[in-house]
């Protein structure tokens, strides 16, 4: 078949237009109808890079919901930047979008403050808190500090010469925990010699090598090293002792502080009650699934389920606490 040359150009343009316009929707399989808990086209944003805490939480949650037949095809995507506030801004801009949610945690609360982000968590629709994880105070096995009291006594005397390592940038959980501890111990937070590391992994090397006087980080990454006897835990920051970990709480050690890092899910602002309830319902059923419970056990998380308005009030309280600490530091 031969076309006249005059016809070929318009025909090429027409087919090109058809391809780019119709191709994508036709290639994408339909996501089905909204039956039961299923929310067609639901997307879960991770405001961090792949492999990070929010990423694992989000992907595990999405996987559990799919395996438990609560939803099909939840699309998890990463939008990293500025401690999660880039993702938060996008979420807040998607006002009224009932098919979007974001995995987040205490780190985002701090990042909103330190980055002076225009959007805050108060602008979002709280869905649920999922897990929590206490921080621990660790030293290498060769450290001269055998217990927390010795450490605090030395710390009070010369805070400057006791570098504290943490796995988060200023404003993050591992930064807030030692600041709260210092405050309770009567040390001005500004005097604390805090050294941020790029995550708990990089910090671990510095603790093992005795580069910092002590490290403060989430317990999860360190359990194996503790069991192997390479690290000594001087205290846990939670209210209660952790099962299987021979370490006192801060309160037992005489510091009136309790602190836990947590992770949860928020949605864009301006949702109708029905849309909001649908998301909460999905997350609640996901939380109850045996797949999720199994994942929580496997990842050694602590369940801390809390939904809707209760989670909203919790967010407000956390925000206030972070704000107070950071104001004192001049951040």
């Amino acid at each position: 078949m031969r076309l006249s040359p005059r016809l070929r150009t318009p025909l090429a343009l027409l087919s090109a237009a058809l391809i780019v316009l119709l191709g994508p929707p036709l290639l994408s399989s339909g996501s089905g109808s909204a039956t039961g808990t299923h929310i067609p086209g639901l997307r879960l944003m991770v405001p961090n890079t792949p492999g990070g805490g929010y990423d694992i939480t989000a992907r595990t949650a999405a996987k559990s919901a799919e395996d438990a037949d609560l939803s099909r095809n939840i699309e998890v995507f990463n939008l990293p930047g500025a401690g999660g506030t880039v993702g938060l801004s996008r979420l807040v801009a998607e006002r009224g979008n009932g098919k979007l949610a974001m995995s987040m945690g205490l780190g985002v609360v701090g990042a909103v403050h330190t980055n002076h982000a225009p959007s805050t968590l108060a602008d979002t629709t709280p869905i649920a808190r999922l897990t929590q994880e206490p921080d621990i105070v660790v030293v290498a096995k060769g450290s001269k500090y055998r217990n927390f009291d010795q450490l605090v006594a030395d710390w009070r005397n010369k805070p400057g010469s006791l570098p504290v390592g943490g796995g988060s940038s200023p404003g993050g959980p591992d930064h807030l925990a030692p600041m709260l501890m210092a405050k309770a111990a009567g040390i001005a937070p500004k005097k604390v010699n805090y050294i941020p590391y790029d995550g708990g992994g990089e910090l671990l090397a510095s603790v093992l090598g005795g580069k910092v006087a002590f490290g403060v980080s989430g317990v999860g990454e360190y359990l194996d090293q503790i069991e192997a006897g390479e690290l000594r835990v001087l205290a846990v920051t939670s209210d209660k002792r952790l099962p299987g970990l021979d370490a006192p709480t801060l309160k037992e050690s005489g510091l009136d502080v309790s602190f836990t890092n947590w992770r949860g899910i928020v949605a864009p602002p301006g949702l109708t009650d029905a849309e909001r309830d649908k998301l909460i319902d999905l997350v609640t059923k996901m939380h109850a699934s045996k797949q999720w419970q199994e994942a929580v056990r496997r990842n050694r998380w602590t369940d801390a389920f809390m939904t809707g308005d209760e989670f909203g009030r919790f967010l407000t309280a956390q925000d206030k606490r972070v704000d107070t600490v950071l104001k004192e530091l001049g951040l």
Binding site: A12, L22, P24, P25, L27, S28, F77, K190, G330
Partner: protein
């Protein structure tokens, strides 16, 4: 070669400038030394870096001699120094050697129209990708770039662009779940 053109122009212009007024003389003097623009750029960046560093709020606890402002100040000052040294070098007749290459014909005069077209097409892609979706903006980027670079096969280029863009969309968005915006008809169909 633009430089040699400019040089001969400068020479003749300098000769005439000596006889006439200094205004065109200055312009002609500058024409052969457009590299001074690079010095100006370095100078501007240096000032920007220094301003940013000096207006920084350093309320936060700092330990030791090196704080958040130290490195920017060092870099900013170094930028100013290099800008001045480069200017001296240029005024003494030093010249950056334009980079050659297989596809590059330095003897031809600079074709700024093509560069502007390419930059425009690329910028358009950045602004259209969200409203129109990746398949459309990507196809426009490819076709536009090919057009700017001299391809005039109207019966073929749009098709290549459309297929390339849609296939890329499919591989990234569908197969790999790296989200790319699909376009206005995604929700309709």
């Amino acid at each position: 070669m633009t430089d040699s053109h400019a040089d001969t122009n400068t020479d003749t212009a300098n000769n005439t400038a000596n006889k006439t007024d200094t205004g065109t003389g200055l312009r002609a003097f500058l024409r052969g030394r457009s590299e001074l623009g690079v010095c100006a750029l370095l100078l501007a960046i240096g000032v920007l870096v220094l301003t940013d560093a000096l207006t920084m709020d350093t309320d936060f606890a700092q330990r030791g001699p090196v704080g958040p402002r130290t490195v920017p100040i060092v870099v900013g000052v170094a930028l100013l120094v290099v800008a001045v040294l480069l200017a001296v070098d240029v005024l003494r007749g030093g010249k950056g050697e334009a980079e050659g290459g297989e596809d590059i014909d330095l003897a031809a005069p600079g074709d700024w129209r093509t560069v502007l077209l390419l930059a425009g097409v690329f910028l358009a892609n950045a602004f259209l990708i969200d409203p129109l979706g990746f398949p459309i903006s990507g196809a426009l980027l490819f076709w536009g770039s090919a057009y700017a670079l001299g391809s005039r096969a109207f019966h073929r280029d749009p098709l290549i662009a459309a297929v390339l863009s849609t296939v890329t969309f499919f591989v990234f968005d569908r197969l790999l779940a790296v989200p790319l915006p699909g376009g206005p008809l995604m929700e309709v169909l």
